[in-house]
Symmetry: C2
Subunit: 197 residues, 2 copies
């Protein structure tokens, strides 16, 4: 159980690289960011970089692990405090609004989609796990993986669209729209059994 924390230099290097990555992305966009930019910004040797990360994407995903973690926090806290997923989605709309800059630098970009997709898949997995339990009771019902895919993708795409287009709606409004569109259908296929985890 007792994990010995790694060499201080390792933590420092990884942290420097991840911070530098975000700085570079915010400055020149995801696609334009190169490994060279990142290690220059971080003042880290080239070979050191490749000692820590396989390649560019490895760095990028690892750098955005904390973003996924943020999502996780919202997922968990919302699941506990609210009986329905709508409080959850509001919470995530609000969270994302605070990270608008960063999302904008990602959304739409060819490489940035890797991160968006990453988060969407995480959301999918989370939903799938919880829905499997709730839905197996019904026969001939909608398959949980389809519901999970539908919920996660429609949510993520509305979210990124919202952030990317500077549309004038507030997080609460966006959540209201999302709810209006999604809730009736979900109620229909689930008939009231919400997140009974």
């Amino acid at each position: 159980m007792t994990e010995k924390s790694p060499d201080r230099r390792i933590q420092r290097t990884r942290q420097l690289l991840q911070d530098a990555l975000i700085a570079v992305i915010l400055e020149k966009g995801y696609d334009a960011a190169t490994v060279q930019d990142v290690i220059d910004r971080a003042n880290v040797g080239r070979s050191t970089f490749y000692a820590h990360f396989q390649d560019k994407e490895d760095l990028l995903l690892s750098g955005f692990e904390h973003l996924r973690t943020e999502f996780e926090k919202h997922l968990l806290s919302a699941s506990v405090t609210s009986a329905s997923p709508w409080g959850l989605s509001l919470s995530m709309f609000q969270h994302a609004e605070g990270q608008r800059q960063l999302y904008k630098a990602l959304a739409g970009k060819q490489g940035g989609n890797v991160v968006i997709t990453y988060i969407q898949k995480y959301l999918f997995t989370y939903l799938h796990t919880h829905l499997k339990q709730a839905l197996t009771k019904r026969k001939n019902g909608i398959p949980p993986e389809i519901l999970a895919q539908y919920l996660s993708s429609s949510f993520i795409s509305l979210l990124t669209w919202w952030l990317d287009t500077d549309s004038p709606y507030s997080a609460a409004q966006m959540n209201e729209f999302y709810r209006q569109l999604v809730e009736p259908g979900v109620n229909g296929v689930m008939a009231g059994m919400f997140f009974t985890s």
Copy 2:
């Protein structure tokens, strides 16, 4: 009105390149396909390639223009023959099933998403245009761009997920799922006014 058809060589070259592109993608996937692969396969000189296309993405999108055109055909024919969009989505599920190989080589890939996004944006534009007319009549209703974004993205993502995961459902079943999930919400915000174009 009379467009003089371009030099035979131009048509031939463009066709060769586009065909070669698809062949290469099916062989080694979207991301791995290089310009060199394509011109080798097409037996076209390097400089010739750059005389026709700005860069790689230009070729790729142009190469998939016909895919978008297919979608367009289905959109138009379905709009005419059916009063609701569900016949339309069934038609597109069926069409896509015939192109499964190709979609699989695109979906999930970093660069392949460019094409998926391209089609989704086309669908968005189409829906947005038609929904604007139907929705302006109501005040405080859902904004048409949000409905269009929701419909296009949820459809495309279910579609690509379906093709990519080899899930066992038929096109008709997928359409049924999609309809079950989406229709109630859409009915709620539109109250029966469907595609009165």
